[in-house]
Amino acid sequence: MLGIGKRDTTILLVVAFMALAAPIILNPFPANSAMAQFNAGYPDLMQRFVIFGIFAIGFNILFGLTGYLSFGHAAFLGAGSYAAVWMFKLLSFNVIPAVLLSIVVAALFSVLIGFISLRRSGIYFSILTLAFAQMSYNLAYSVLTPLTNGETGLQVYTSDPQYLRGEGDPIVTHLFGLEMRAKETLELGPWAFDFSVGYYFCAILMLISFYISIRIFRSPFGLMLRAVKSNNHRLSYTGLNSRPYALTAFIISGAYAGLAGGLLAAMDPLAGAERMQWTASGEVVLMTILGGAGTLIGPVLGAGFIKYCENIFSKINENVLHSWFAALPDGLETGLVWVASKFVGEGWHLTLGLMFMLVVIFLPGGLVEGGQRIGRALRRRRGQDEPGRSAAKEPAE
């Protein structure tokens, strides 16, 4: 189906189902229950899941396939966001021109940075990209304020021209009149599920991005990219020029980052300079490795994992903990709350750090490997383990 193999079609369908049903899947707990704290099915966070999913999918095309570890991809995310907000400021709140321009701007920016950085490989390449991104961030924060509005972040003012804005157009981001923030709520008893326009807009673009990434993975081009990672030396003695391959991958992943940046702005028309900081570049690296670099679905999982931690764990404060453990005897409750509070709320970074360590120590292939292990264990229990199968590990599952 769709020109991809059966396995890939299954993966795509699973991802599509997850993405489209996310508002329900991510809200498993009744809205008023104590566990509602763990619900992630509200539009803003779901949008972040899929947007950072796009970012990580794109990054994986570069890092997962070619092995070039860029530490500067946040620069393209930021450039995409700025481009989109400028479109809002100059044209109208319609998201289409904004998203298109954000892709184009980020791609052009990545041509420039990629062309220079790819003259080196290994860590030298990483540091070159890092240097470019940090320069972009520092300048955006200070000297380029007329273009970026510095620390505050670029936003749309009522005094902005918006040349293409029609009379009755919404004053929030929209798709031909369909407001991004519009949503419908489905209530089933104590459960409540939000279906927001913005989320589905992002989710559909994520699915398209994911589909394109599958096609790239399975294409001759993708094969060449994996060859670049595996043995660049052999590649050139096989008559192939690795530089344009790597550069194209760099540009594609830059464009993905631009799309993600544009979508961030389309969901929330404010672009802050922190988006370009090295920590943001590092975040996408972590997402990809955590999920499983070079796998199709890993980066999406990694992105969801990190964003979930950031948004859910950081919001659990001592009050919430007390309400959870209220049923326990006093001393025990205090003790449990004390221990737990070190890992959530202000301590959520500790949880994140520990998770990084645990995943990488015990699951070298990232979360995807965790899934595979569970799958294999289940198969083995059913006695269906095919011998030799694990030996013939498919390189880019």
């Binding site: 020109g3 991809i4 193999g5 096609r215 790239i216 399975r218 294409s219 001759p220 081009f221 993708g222 094969l223 060449m224 994996r226 060859a227 990672k229 595996s230 043995n231 030396h233 052999r234 590649l235 050139s236 003695y237 096989t238 008559g239 192939l240 020029n241 344009p244 391959y245 194209t248 594609i252 030996a391 013939a392 590990k393 498919e394 390189p395």
Partner: protein
């Protein structure tokens, strides 16, 4: 006029004269061995041929065109393939994928953006790849991880990757170095078979005289960066200068 013509090549590293006035002509369709003691400049010469090093003076013509100043991938596209001392393969990819890559390289050139086609749907290319694997008796290993192969199989795979490109000239850099006797014999058989079944020119750089005399039709002896003699294996064996410079130490 040979398919490969090396004329007056000199290469210095600092004060060291690695190659001095090297002239060499490899005739189309022959197996030409280049031998010499350690430090004779064999590797330097090879690196000049594949574009990794640029000589200080002289010319290297392949098929009527100069290879000098061209990058390795361009030289490969001209029709020169290379087998390395330790097999250079794509260890992270499957055996089949390893041979698919040269197939694409032959069809599409040094760079082509086929990002939306599926590898699985490339009928002819897949057939070619399967064929060559069958030719080197590796068809049953097509789905294995190339990195997990035995050394001998890696060598076979590398050979297959070169052959599938249908090169005009195959350069072999000590193809049996470090191999056990049995593996060496297997490799010799493989090369012999290739020679018989394909119209191919080979240039072998080799230490092992057994290999050289089993395969070569012409031999050039290199010593201290200079070709000493060039002749048929029979004549080389008896050549006094060669014995003196090189074979004296080896058992022939």
């Amino acid at each position: 006029m040979g398919i490969l013509e090396v004329k007056g090549v000199n290469k210095n590293f600092g004060g060291l004269k690695a190659l001095q006035d090297v002239n060499l002509s490899v005739q189309e369709g022959t197996v030409h061995a280049i031998i010499g003691p350690n430090g004779a400049g064999k590797s330097t010469l090879l690196n000049v041929l594949v574009g990794k090093l640029r000589p200080d003076t002289g010319s290297v013509m392949f098929d009527g065109k100069s290879v000098l100043g061209r990058k390795p991938h361009e030289i490969n596209q001209m029709g020169i393939s290379r087998v390395f001392q330790t097999p250079e393969i794509f260890t992270d990819l499957s055996v089949l994928e390893n041979v698919l890559i040269p197939c694409f390289a032959r069809r599409d050139g040094a760079f082509r953006m086929h990002a939306f086609e599926s590898v699985a749907h490339e009928g002819t290319i897949n057939e070619e790849a399967e064929q060559i694997l069958a030719d080197v008796n590796m068809a049953d290993k097509r789905n294995l991880h190339a990195g997990s192969l035995s050394r001998g199989d890696k060598r076979r795979l590398e050979m297959a990757m070169c052959l599938v490109q249908q090169p005009k000239l195959l350069l072999l850099d000590e193809p049996t170095a470090g191999m056990a006797r049995a593996d060496t014999n297997n490799t010799i058989d493989l090369l012999k078979e290739i020679k018989e079944t394909r119209p191919i020119t080979m240039a072998i750089i080799e230490h092992d005289m057994h290999v050289v005399f089993s395969l070569a039709e012409r031999i050039t002896v290199l010593a201290q960066g200079t070709p000493l003699v060039e002749d048929t294996p029979e004549n080389i064996k008896g050549h006094p200068k060669v014995r003196e410079a090189y074979l004296g130490e080896a058992q022939v």
